[in-house]
């Protein structure tokens, strides 16, 4: 088990290192000077712009040799300092991220967990009953083929715009301020529901299909055949099949995280939901490199952490990893 976890940790550390380096390197490899962009936004006149340029370049540390910049980047990282934002002048990147993160997590975590659980159950049921299989499965395929963006728009159009059941945008009513009150909580839930539903439905489709295929595969495995030859009731056979099918599904969970995160981002944009997604689009539109860097870093760390959590769960679920012999 320790060998398995050690291997995974090494992988994640390496990935982290590579990702952070990419994150740091790209802006510096790109054509164009971010300071120029900043100055034009500040609309300074031409005489002062030279000095301003020098000033900003120095304060952002961009005049240092590359390796120094790289080192100080890591140092800043260790202190949680991701630099200042160009789009939201005056705010630091970390502050902005901390403000937006809870909203995104409030969407992601329930959506991932619920779609995973529900998808697995339904997929397993569809694997057993032909009737279910013929109705649920095509539906699941359509769901998983739907772009998050578009499902968000469709849900917003029908449920919010046309029938007014849910609000169209924002995370809470404009008149309210975030607070630990029932009023706020209720308003939040109303605004939260449609983005959540979007994420849930699309992911659900994928899990249902995956589980259904795995269960079919397990039901035809040799241990299943042996059990049935010994007259075991189908409840026992299904129980074993399910237990075995969950393992690859867990690995799949780690892989799918990246896709769901991407989906959450665009869903937030459609609903004007003040999470990481909206922050990204603002950063993109304003060429706020520091904010983008910080956001990318956040996403990377988040996905790696989530992967690691899933790996630990996997060890719990698959006894083969605990026996010290290389499992699947």
């Amino acid at each position: 088990m320790t060998r398995y976890l050690a291997r995974k940790s090494l992988l994640y550390l390496l990935t982290f290192f590579v990702a952070v380096t990419i994150d740091w390197a790209i802006p510096r490899l790109m054509p164009g000077d971010p300071i120029d962009g900043l100055i034009s936004r500040l609309q300074a006149d031409s005489t002062a712009s030279q000095e301003l340029h020098g000033y900003f370049t120095e304060s952002f540390g961009l005049d240092q040799p590359l390796w120094r910049q790289y080192a100080s980047f890591w140092r800043g990282l260790a202190h949680g300092d991701l630099g200042p934002s160009i789009a939201y002048v005056g705010s630091s990147v970390s502050d902005l991220i901390w403000a937006a993160l809870p909203y995104t997590l409030a969407l992601l975590v329930p959506a991932i967990v619920l779609s995973y659980v529900a998808g697995n159950r339904v997929g397993a049921m569809a694997a057993r009953r032909k009737v279910l299989d013929n109705t649920v499965l095509p539906f699941a395929y359509i769901l998983t083929a739907t772009p998050y963006v578009w499902l968000a728009l469709v849900l917003a159009y029908f449920l919010a715009f046309k029938w007014g059941i849910f609000p169209v945008s924002g995370a809470y009513d404009f008149s309210l301020q975030p607070a630990w009150t029932w009023e706020f909580a209720w308003s939040f839930l109303q605004h939260w529901f449609l983005p959540f539903l979007t994420l849930f439905l699309v992911s659900f489709g994928g899990w249902a299909i995956g589980m259904r295929n795995l269960i079919i595969y397990e039901l035809e495995s040799e241990y299943s055949n042996y059990l049935q030859a010994l007259g075991a009731p189908s409840t026992l056979v299904r129980k074993y099949a399910y237990g075995n099918a969950v393992l690859p599904q867990m690995s799949g969970l780690a892989l799918a995280l990246g896709a769901v995160v991407g989906g959450a981002l665009v869903t937030e944009i459609v609903f004007g939901y003040p999470g990481i997604g909206t922050l990204i689009i603002t950063a993109l539109q304003n060429r706020d490199y520091f904010l983008l860097q910080g956001l990318f870093l956040l996403i990377i760390i988040g996905v790696l952490v989530a992967n690691f959590v899933v790996d630990i769960l996997y060890v719990v679920v698959d006894p083969r990893t605990r026996t010290g012999i290389q499992g699947s």
Binding site: L11, Y12, L14, T15, A19, I22, D23, I26, P27, L29, M30, K130, Y141, I142, T144, A145, T146, P147, V149, W150, L151, L153, V154, A156, Y157, F161, V168, V202, G205, G206, I209, G210, N213, I216, Y217, G252, L255, A256, L257, G258, A259, V261, G262, L265, V266, I269, V270, I280, I281, L284, Q285, R287, L292, Q293, F296, I299, I300, V303, L304, N307
Partner: protein
Amino acid sequence: MESRADLVATPEIALTGEGAALEDAYPEPPVRRFEALHFAARNAKLVVGLTVVLAFLVAAIAGPWLTDATPFEFGYPLGEPPSSAHWLGTTSPGQDVYSQFVYGLRSSFIVGALAAAVAGLLGMAIGFLGGYLGGVIDEILSMVTNIVLVIPTLAVLIIVSAYLSVGSLWSEALLIGLTSWPWAARAIRAQTFSLASRDFVSLARLSGQGTIKVIVKEIAPNMSSYLFLTFILLFGGAVLIAATLDFLGLGPSQVMSLGLMLNNAVSNAALQLGMWWWFIPPGVGITAIVGGLYIMNVGLDEVFNPKLRRT
């Protein structure tokens, strides 16, 4: 591509067991060759999926011939619902939605095919080499694959596209291909492993054939159906990723795409204005094409692997 593709891909079940033994012990060559086509024609999923995809392909190719309007052309009535003059209505600034839609379909197919080709070739190269050669090379390649696999594709694409403005469908496809290959590489590697231990490969190796030759002549042809299925899944995934990128404004801005339509629709508050004809069709297009590809994939898998046929 840690997208939904690998959740959707059916497990590869080799043609073994008493079914194969039965059909192998008493072969009837002429009938068998057509058996695949026979099953193919009868497989509902394959037929339906293929029909849908082909229908949209035809629309993509021929659709633009049916109109004089071009996607970026202004001057039409502002924000009108579908009519006989404009089959899918017009946008707020006065463009023809139908022409945007069919040109957008073209972009989807082009990007999908190109990206799938890039990702497929890369995935094959790495998957074949790792699976066949094994040892240290495999360890290194696996590590690389896993690293790229874990990094969320969209995040990378956002970062890169933000700095490198993507000017053409080609560069967009290239970008997508360069980030989607790990999934394919892993799948191909696993298949190559099981094939590499078979006798005919050992034979080829013993007779002195070089690595590349063995892979190209012995292994790849025996995996052709699997490779084809992988390509289809990559295609579908690429269309989805491209749509998201285009929606974020990170795709080529001079080429109309379905994602770009959605982007424009949202920026122009089409939702709040109730202009359903602007944002519903592009989504329908994407969902239909990708869904058709996925379902086709399942059908094809059943045709290639008799054991999966649930009759």
